[in-house]
Amino acid sequence: MERITVKIDGRDIVTSPGRTILEVARENGIRIPTLCHLDGLSDVGACRLCIVDVRGQLVTACTTRVADKMEVLTATETVQAYRRTILELLFAEGNHICAFCVSNGGCELQDLACELGMHSVRVPYAFPRHRIDASHPRFLIDRDRCVLCGRCVRVCAEVEGARTWDFAERGSHARVITDLDVDWGDAASCTSCGKCVEVCPTGAIVRKGASNGEMRKRPEVVAGLKERRKHG
């Protein structure tokens, strides 16, 4: 098996080619923040939070494969500043009021503010007002809390196979939809498996009946499923 050497934050690491910077970093105890990445799903580099510096270029660690003699810096001042700005833009774009959210205390976006040292949002808030879709008997989606990570789209396509969720429109109008943009309760392809609920990092897709701060997700079930399916 071919072995290559990658330098991450000044440390020489021996690994095999074809793996992502994110995988190699994690294996070696190096923390890179992520949001749209989820073990068990394909990587798409959507959120840009995992950007790292490769010889002065900023690339997403989740989609960039290591190469021999690659030099990666995961936490330069520039990288940290950009990550904070990306996070501020995510907060400003939605209606991320944690106070009464059912995912308060169990939200990856909320945790990122703590990890990245986001004291305030320095860009104007958009204050969007999407209609909450609670038409499904067991679940609902509050699009104001969606960060467009696409985990729901990927888990529904790659793991459940129903392909109920997808993206629609572009730019600031981009949103996730069910089937051909019908209410979730009318989306015939949905199997009600609930995987999208488990993988959604915020309080956007949640279970009905969960009240203030009660919604707790289990995104790790996806990696577990993938592992068990490998063995037939």
């Binding site: 203030n212 701060g213 009660e214």
Partner: protein, 473 residues
């Protein structure tokens, strides 16, 4: 020449308000208005949110009494789920409500109002506040702080945090009472009771006579509160009762969920706070008072012995039902005592630590009403939902709002009693504010909004030119 006196803002209350006093040509008071100056719009922006968010969302109406809203909201959601919640959940919610009453009443008495009657109505404004009280009587201040802390700790130990705990949910509550927490509450109770009795003794020593307690005017009104079916003081369940100024029953036992049959609201162009009134008497004659004085006058008795003894003494000292605004403070202390006694009873109930605390259900009714007694008065939440659990409409009548007509009356009467021939002192203005403080208004709640402005008094003439300025620095 017509003049106006502006008191802006009213301080040592919750929320934002100002007062205008209108003088006639000879400098005597013609009228006064109590303006609540901010609006957030909860009834409007709740529309489109989900049922399950409502307890946490409406909690943010108020940071002093979030529990009140959380419980009223949870009761409303129970009705929409069409469930009967487990009996331990009822006991726990009652315990939570009593902890709330204790801390909120202690805040009002020690932190907000006591500076006036313990340091003096005319004392230096720079020190007439809780910090000044700490300096003047650190022993009493410490006791007051610890009494409030006792109530707050009940909330934190039951709900996870003191302010805006996400604990009461549609169908019950989501966390049981642990044995260690129960023990703490039991062991800390005697100190709380002792502090309250000390405060009552101090109060009665200073203000035992009726005349002492008329400092902030008196006037007759109806009184409203929930009572138990047997007429005893109640805070969580029960029936709605209205009595007249002498305590004679006007409405014996109205179903709280049908509050709209006897209560409507009016509005005025000069305040963001609406005016609930008793429908058969119309607006504005249908004035009534809620909160400590309202409940204490509306009920027959307390079901607990210490509070009942104090109630009897209060009625004795007052010659029957009191209409004195200052007696809100007296009633408030009696309610702390009654609440602490019931806390003791609940903690002794074996069912209080049971893990059976939640009923599960979906949306089974399209409308629900939840009513109980917040520290400041009867609190009503009323939601309409679609079949998916999305709020279509919300109506909230919040405690202090019921007192709006009475607060305006108090301000007018106190101003009339003190301001003559255009002569105004800072102490008089403080007494006018004191009339509001006695009601312990929660204006954020009442308007579902909050506003704030500083206090400067401009005495302006009819042309609008400022003749004198009294600024409180």
């Amino acid at each position: 020449m017509e003049r106006q006196i502006h008191i802006e803002p009213v301080t040592r209350i919750e929320g934002h308000a100002k007062i205008t006093v209108f003088l006639d040509a000879s400098g005597d008071v013609r009228d006064a208005q109590f303006h609540v100056t901010e609006l957030r719009g909860f009834e409007q922006f709740c529309v489109g949110r989900t049922l399950w968010e409502m307890p946490g969302l409406t909690a943010r109406i108020c940071g002093i009494c979030p529990i009140s809203h959380i419980l009223a909201s949870a009761k409303t959601c129970d009705a929409i789920l069409a469930v009967q919640i487990p009996e331990t959940a009822v006991l726990l919610r009652r315990l939570m409500n009593l902890g709330q009453i204790v801390q909120s009443h202690a805040l009002s008495f020690f932190y907000l109002s006591a500076p006036d009657f313990l340091l003096g109505w005319d004392s230096d404004p720079a020190t007439r506040n809780v910090i000044g009280l700490v300096a003047a009587d650190p022993g009493l201040a410490r006791k007051g702080i610890r009494l409030r802390a006792y109530g707050q700790e009940i909330l934190a130990r039951l709900g996870g945090k003191r302010i805006h705990p996400g604990w009461a949910v549609p169908g019950g509550v989501n966390q049981a009472l642990s044995a260690p927490d129960r023990t703490w509450m039991v062991e800390s109770l005697p100190e709380a009771i002792s502090t309250t009795q000390e405060a009552l003794a101090l109060f009665k020593a200073k203000f035992g006579s009726k005349d002492d307690r008329t400092v902030l005017t008196e006037f007759p009104s109806m009184y409203m509160g929930l009572v138990r079916p047997d007429g005893a003081w109640e805070h969580y369940a029960g029936v709605l009762r209205l009595v007249d100024a002498k305590g004679k029953v006007v409405v014996a036992a109205h179903d709280p969920s049908r509050y709209f049959e006897i209560l409507h609201e009016a509005s005025e162009p000069w305040t963001y706070l609406k005016f609930p009134y008793y429908v058969p008497k119309g607006y504005p004659d249908g004035m009534y008072r809620v909160g400590p004085l309202g409940r204490v006058n509306a009920c027959d008795r307390f079901a607990t012995p210490l509070a009942q003894a104090e109630l009897e003494e209060f009625r004795d000292r007052s010659g029957g039902r009191s209409g004195r605004v200052f007696d809100y403070h007296y009633a408030r202390l009696i309610e702390i005592l009654g609440s602490l006694e019931e806390i003791g009873e609940l903690l002794a109930d074996e069912r209080i630590t049971s893990p059976e605390i939640r009923a599960e259900a979906g949306v089974n009714a399209r409308e629900g009403v939840g009513v109980h007694e917040a520290p400041r008065g009867t609190l009503i939440h009323h939601y309409w939902v679609d079949r998916n659990g999305i709020i279509e409409k919300a109506n909230l009548i919040v405690s202090t709002g019921h007192n709006n007509l009475a607060m305006n009356r108090a301000v007018r009467e106190i101003a009339k009693a003190y301001i003559k021939k255009g002569k105004v002192t800072e102490g008089m203005l403080n007494r006018i504010e004191g009339g509001i403080r006695a009601y312990d208004p929660c204006l954020s709640c009442s308007v579902h909004a909050v506003g704030h402005m500083p206090l400067v008094v401009d005495v302006v003439n009819a042309e609008g030119a400022v003749e004198t300025t009294l600024a409180r620095e």
